[in-house]
Subunit: 164 residues, 6 copies
């Protein structure tokens, strides 16, 4: 016996059957950040084009990655996500960019992995686009901050914005 739903009685991996669960509208919100040198952050956000392009490419990467979650995370269920948002908030006081992804579905299982994957790949994309000028950036604080819509009720690690 174990408490890992992704392992069966023999402790072996499986994609756990969710066919008996209720279909509900679900939302997951995840956050993360990429910390960099002040000059790197300046370079990104000082030029309007540059900022738009770095965040624009990273946003598309995050959105597309969310849709690939079940191809990347072995035991995740394939899901028809109904909505994905990825936002960036530069924070010059702390030399970092905060990333937030919101993912929605009407289905039998939650979408926290999709939100966490969107944040991770958006962060990796920023790293990729800026690595020529700052190889020591660090990606961190990737975490689930909100989850609602399933049997286990609402999980609220941090407040989310009104319009979500």
């Amino acid at each position: 016996m174990n408490n890992f739903t992704h392992l069966d009685d023999q402790g072996q991996a499986r994609m756990v059957e969710v066919g008996g669960k209720e279909i509900t509208r679900r939302l997951a919100v995840a956050r993360g950040e990429i910390v960099m040198r002040p000059e790197t952050l300046d370079m990104i956000i000082s030029g309007k084009v540059t900022k738009g392009e770095v965040f624009g490419v990273a946003r598309v990467a995050g959105i597309m990655a969310a849709k690939q979650t079940s191809s990347l995370i072995p035991l995740c269920h394939p899901l028809n996500l109904t909505g994905i948002d990825v936002q960036f908030r530069p924070d010059q006081d702390n030399n970092k960019i905060e990333i937030e992804a919101s993912v929605r579905i009407t289905g039998q299982t939650g979408v926290e992995m999709e939100a966490l994957t969107a944040v991770s790949v958006a962060a990796l994309t920023i790293y990729d686009m800026c690595k020529a000028v700052d190889r020591a950036m660090t990606i961190g604080a990737i975490r689930l901050i909100h989850k609602s819509g399933g049997k286990s009720g609402v999980f609220e690690r941090e407040p989310i914005k009104e319009n979500q």
Copy 2:
């Protein structure tokens, strides 16, 4: 003008031409971690099967993700990686699991994004397998620790082990 190699003169994204660069053997090593409740870490590493299976699934996920890097990160070059290793080190003093990925290639461009992607997806997979018991785990400290083989010389953020 800008210093981002992934943006052209107008600040627009491109997959930068590397056809003129030298073909060399290259290595990139990245690290990251997933922090969790002590009980969660205990559950993973106390059972031999459980530990093998959680790390085994996450290792495969990391290796396979490294091979998908150019499909995930928009401006990464498609590359024929020659070797990928992913390792896990449970650290009970700090309630976390450290993840390390080493990626090798003989080619015209580095593989740091592949190593960072392997670490990120391995961490996400551990999160996925344990989220039923601990939703508040945090993934962090994802960073490049070593890079060698290219024109820009060796980058060494932290010592790597002898046998790499």
Copy 3:
């Protein structure tokens, strides 16, 4: 404010939430063409094997591409398509091959992108198979000709055949 549903209030890309839309049976039909030298068209349709194989490979490519639409078009929703048809009509008077794709779903959003993607990739596949003999072929007139099943009612640019 803007009229692009794929952009939010700040003009930033998102995969727009469709979870509140009604589930209906939907159909989209798209057409396109590839124009070529008369000799090239002759070569394709004169040999029974050749014709079957060129159209056969292009048909499979179109069907498979329709299923990859949400991986290719960044803001498209992942969808469980229920039916896909791809047809070819050689037109010797105008030195071209007409391509038509019909895609069906029972869902919350339309499948016009899937139909247009099927046509585009089928056309590209014909180009690929014939480019050794005719590099100057041109793909064009890729357009939606019919869409039904959603809230916005029926869109009918051109008549479709009875049996669709």
Copy 4:
């Protein structure tokens, strides 16, 4: 006219429309085997780590492949599988490993191709991991053993275990 549902009246391939079929809970179970030299089988199952790792990697490969079925098999419908299990049974009397995959869905079409694909890719993965020591292994007996939940009723080629 023909009896192949995947071919239309002209004998041309299509992804046949299933939008009018009933949504039911469905299960498909497939089996297969990989036959090898006794020494090879010994090498796999004698070491606890080795066995866990070979079967562990092959299990993940099988589960992930089931989710890719509609990308691999041209006329398969994209489906949101709800559960996947892959099991291995070493059989030293017959110098082989038996592989069994069970796949579940709530949907309009069966999942036998997904179960057969999981078995095939799990077998190929075992071949890959052991080919350095035994190039003459043979994969065979890949077959559907159970299918239930659709209009055509239960198909039962061989008994399945109680707990499925």
Copy 5:
């Protein structure tokens, strides 16, 4: 016998062997266009954010699609592209947006399919982002305009810009 390199002596599809061809640096440039209502074009290019975002998303889509060409076009060789550029030129006199993609490789086979695929998917992405306001847009004139680096010499359908 036939002149289609992608068909063998029996007229059957194959991915033709290119292992004996010389490795050279190659370039392919393709163009295409999407024609729309004047108001639609106005909406895209009048707002700085809107224009940046529509072209930004379409550019990323085109770049990523070029890397997926061998997964989409059945008989294309998998290739390690070394560089990809996608550009947009609004043309208000003709109510259209011109799209141009340049793809580079050092390899044994040309990259015209990659350039044509980048243009096609970039056009489809513009269609997707604007279809809520203009369903009758037409994608056309997708053609190869330049190809160099292979045994067959330079193909030049239209002049390309200096800086390519």
Copy 6:
């Protein structure tokens, strides 16, 4: 210690480093079969269109799958295959269709997994296209029959045809 190149000293999976191996031209040929009821085989091969279409779709599926091998088999290296052929031979005496795939590369590692994957997916595709009339077909005898070009010399399990 172990003899599995895909497992490291601790018995853990890795994508083994091949960067030091010689680049040579390599060929792998694999075979397999699908056994069915005589009536099913008749149905496939009696109609010219039907036969062309069933084999045509399965051939494309096999070729495309060979290119996806490193995405399917976790420890396989990503490779730029230079040539792929897939052939079918109906055998009415034994109620089966034989499938043969030949894969070529110029590289540092063999392509036997690619050939075996092509055969497996081609067989699965035949199963899929005929399953409505014969659910009890069995796929088997999937084996490597020839491998040449690497350090380990030529492996010859069965004679291959002259023109390969």
